[in-house]
Symmetry: C2
Subunit: 636 residues, 2 copies
Amino acid sequence: MTRRRYSPVPFAQVKLTSPFWRERLETVLTRTIPSQHAKLAEVGALESLKLPQPPPPLRIPRNSHGLSTQIFWDSDVGKWIEAASYALAHRRDADIEAKIDAIVDDLARAQSPDGYLNSWYNGREPEKRWTNLRDNHELYNAGHLLEGAIAYFRATGRRKMLDVMERCVDHIATMFGRGPGQKRGYPGHQEIELALVKLYRLTGDRPRLDLAAYFIDERGHQPHYYTEEALARGDDPASYWAGTYEYNQSHIPVREQTRMVGHAVRAMYMASAMADLALELGDENLKRACEALWRDVTTAQMYVTAGLGPKDTNEGFTEPYDLPNETAYAETCASVALIFWAHRMLHLDLDGRYADVMELALFNGALTGLARDGVHYFYANPLESRGGRRRWAWHVCPCCTMNVSRLVASVAGYALSVSGDGVAFHLYGGFETTVTLAGVKVALRETSAYPWSCEVRIDIDPEAPATFDLKLRIPEWAKGAIAAVNGEKVALAPVNGYATIRRPWRKGDAVTLDLKMPAERVYAHPNVRMDVGRAALRRGPLIYCVEEADNPGGPVQTLALPRSAPLDAGWRTDLFGGVMTLKASAKRLVPGKGGGALYSTEPPAAEDAALVALPYHLWANRGPGSMQVWVAELDG
Amino acid sequence: MTRRRYSPVPFAQVKLTSPFWRERLETVLTRTIPSQHAKLAEVGALESLKLPQPPPPLRIPRNSHGLSTQIFWDSDVGKWIEAASYALAHRRDADIEAKIDAIVDDLARAQSPDGYLNSWYNGREPEKRWTNLRDNHELYNAGHLLEGAIAYFRATGRRKMLDVMERCVDHIATMFGRGPGQKRGYPGHQEIELALVKLYRLTGDRPRLDLAAYFIDERGHQPHYYTEEALARGDDPASYWAGTYEYNQSHIPVREQTRMVGHAVRAMYMASAMADLALELGDENLKRACEALWRDVTTAQMYVTAGLGPKDTNEGFTEPYDLPNETAYAETCASVALIFWAHRMLHLDLDGRYADVMELALFNGALTGLARDGVHYFYANPLESRGGRRRWAWHVCPCCTMNVSRLVASVAGYALSVSGDGVAFHLYGGFETTVTLAGVKVALRETSAYPWSCEVRIDIDPEAPATFDLKLRIPEWAKGAIAAVNGEKVALAPVNGYATIRRPWRKGDAVTLDLKMPAERVYAHPNVRMDVGRAALRRGPLIYCVEEADNPGGPVQTLALPRSAPLDAGWRTDLFGGVMTLKASAKRLVPGKGGGALYSTEPPAAEDAALVALPYHLWANRGPGSMQVWVAELDG
């Protein structure tokens, strides 16, 4: 573990001035969060909390595995409360609070006298509770409700929901564990572990942490709980619809796992909880397990957009270097959860490789999940489209919608961290806060047009002179970054991705940082067979794509970019309120002497064409044309 | 229609001397056909014919759409009888005949007094017959049994099965049609149309042809039969599991169809029947519909291997130029059926473009479905694999197994055609026959090591001197083909892919033909986005692939072939009893200065490597390594 521990500065203590993020935040506050409440009402999720009632017909029919995503509705409600509470931390809103309070009243009424709370089971089949942890998300739902309760308490000080959920956790702690009469179960979809750590951090109540640790450590042990549980239900464990316990990462104990497998969101939530526990328990062994999984994901299983999980059938991982573009699943939730994990790893070790991935996922894999209008979404995030992909207004499994809104509403919480005598900037783009460093209150104001511009200014205003570390993240792509203090150049010698300036700071001090942000080509490891002969375009933290709207004249897949063609970044005011595009002189492949034949011994001809690339997260906001991240490259 | 009509010389009248095809034929006769009977017995398909009996539990459970492939078992039996009968035409076999006779006895017992025959319905739910033509394959099954009956009658003269099936057809003709009280139905899976045309050709019984024409022409008319039928069952037509009537090509009347859609095998059987009917009825309108569909398939929807149908969920077509390689479905049956269609088109117009596709499908898309050992198969035929694809010994839906065995057992039937005073050679490789040309019996002996060698010799031995057209197919790839008669060079002026030599032929005349067969690169239309920057390798009718067994050192997808590198064909005696491989000096892409990083601004480095390519149909006979047809190309 690092000697000097850094802790995140919570988003509620950070003022967001970033033009880039203000726009997204405003959209989420004014459009996304209200519309999500309306959707939850419309689909019936809010009505389903009003117990007792005769259960209405299923709104979402069971699939071929006998499962209905309706069983996860409590989690959607919990996530919406969490996102809405983050919004309240920006500005209180009586209407939203009334809506949350109404839900809380329903939850309190729906709760069983013993603390059990799950609207599906209490409403439909109370006798079956805790009989199918593998599939039916009771602990996952409770986790999201608990996260919602904590967020709402932090935002408003109102504790009714927190009390409800604490009673629920008390019940869960009675049910599960290694004691006599307890079930040795654990969640089929990891999530409650994260919520329990948050609860521990809020209350200091150690058994909450122990319960999280139990869930993580019990996972995957033999005799296998899900096998026993299936037998107890009278089911054949061998007919498990997912085929393998790798699906939910319970195939072996978590500390023995070195390859990331199965459902990507489950995997990321689990890894995040592992990192939480490694930190809180000082558990070096668990930390090493996290590191092994991190290595696996980032060296062999992650899209260049920080998308995760290529396959739709398991919504998850397959095998190293298997990263198909057009059929990429890359669920928005998985990239959001990768941010959670990376953020936690970063606080185990202040290492820029974690921050780099966190930022990559933030600006690309996650942000693309939310349309410009704030009320349309992507669940899967392919890196290529033949056209025809449209964002949807809601989803039968709307997990991604609230994952992206709770992320954007709390994005400032990922920007900086403090130790006793140091502050570390992870993100740039306009963040202000006041923190205590070396015992002195210090106002910090970071100003920039990042990610469009790489010129950052940080104003440092301690109440009294104070000596502390100013740690500036130098992203992996920022080669040749330079900085100055009060106009005087300082040498930067980044260690693990952070350059440290330690000096006595005085009121009025200002640091400028020029990260250098060339537009550049990125190449995949040649074992990524889909990307052989192709390059992705990147500028700073943004991965670019070519979209048909900017490249009319045929499918964008017929564009080919000479390796030596300069990439010119240019500001476009006419698009999305201002965006940096990349342009290059490229070629458009057209039928050669073979004419329009499907196959010919004549290679295609190459005509001059301008290639225009747009940040990937902005694609599919102008209709359903073709799109591609990995552009074919010509040698010339 | 052509003035001078060519008709195929039936395979039973052609002696196969081709080393290439003899080996495949022997394998099919001695291993495939007997093993298929054993498999049909093992899975329960033969037992299911023994009616009446209390229906045993389903051997093949219903899928999520409520369908079981067990419902198609009759078709598997019919196809096996057809394949086995073709084998008998090569050499009689008492054991196989006894096996067929036993099945025929069961079929006769299973038949209802009114002629209806279907072991599923008669055994399980006789009251439901003819209530779900859309899904349940009754007409398809009857079609395959009828084709089996015709083949068995032709091979042995025994007509019990033919009598059974004629009674069944009589029943079907009563049930379906436009007369009063008849159902206006047609097959959910086209096939019986082909069988009815065969029956008409055998018996001359015109109503058989009319019934086939009715099924084709009724298809897709409004009010839609499958909608009415679903309502009559009490089902919601809108909840049709396939989502669209395009799936079975009944979305619009067949003559209005200009784009090939839906399930590929259904589509090919339908198109084959349309061509049959266009010929038999002299129906120019139907012929034009065939031509429009042909154009669509061959200019926008066919893999370079003549595989058809990229998508697994509909086992069929998607949209123009959508030809993914690794996920290609390209069902073996679809390529077999493409051969059927191409062969029929060729007899509407003697045009080499039909023969070219027929041959392409034969040597590539179809033949790859059968392993060298004759007892393992591919159902889907992707053009790329990351490794791990194994051939299977049987399939829950074994349609492809008997499609490939009946094809190979009758392959000589695709070799040549005759008109009153002409003979056309479509295939080369060792075929002998005696036909009547210009009123004279003429023995023809074609000798070659085709497809390995392009040097063909044809000996012509008329009983008396006779003047007729010798039409030699000059494949599209055979640029600069030359020929000689009795050693004297003759000028070749191919018209529509056939060069005609007309002269008085005498005993002892010999024609030699050198087709020229360079190893060459093939490029896809640039709209095929998956193949941009890639080349396929071809020599003559064979499409090649690179397989890891011949290219050790990493996934074959890391190989890149400079555009200018010569391709050297070389005979390898150590592989598969002799095979022509292609070799080239290529590059192996390895991590560049970025090291083993998943993404880097440094492009991969290119190391010298030998590339060895193998005919595509031979892949996956040596374990499950990586494979690729479309090789990345370097400009140099």
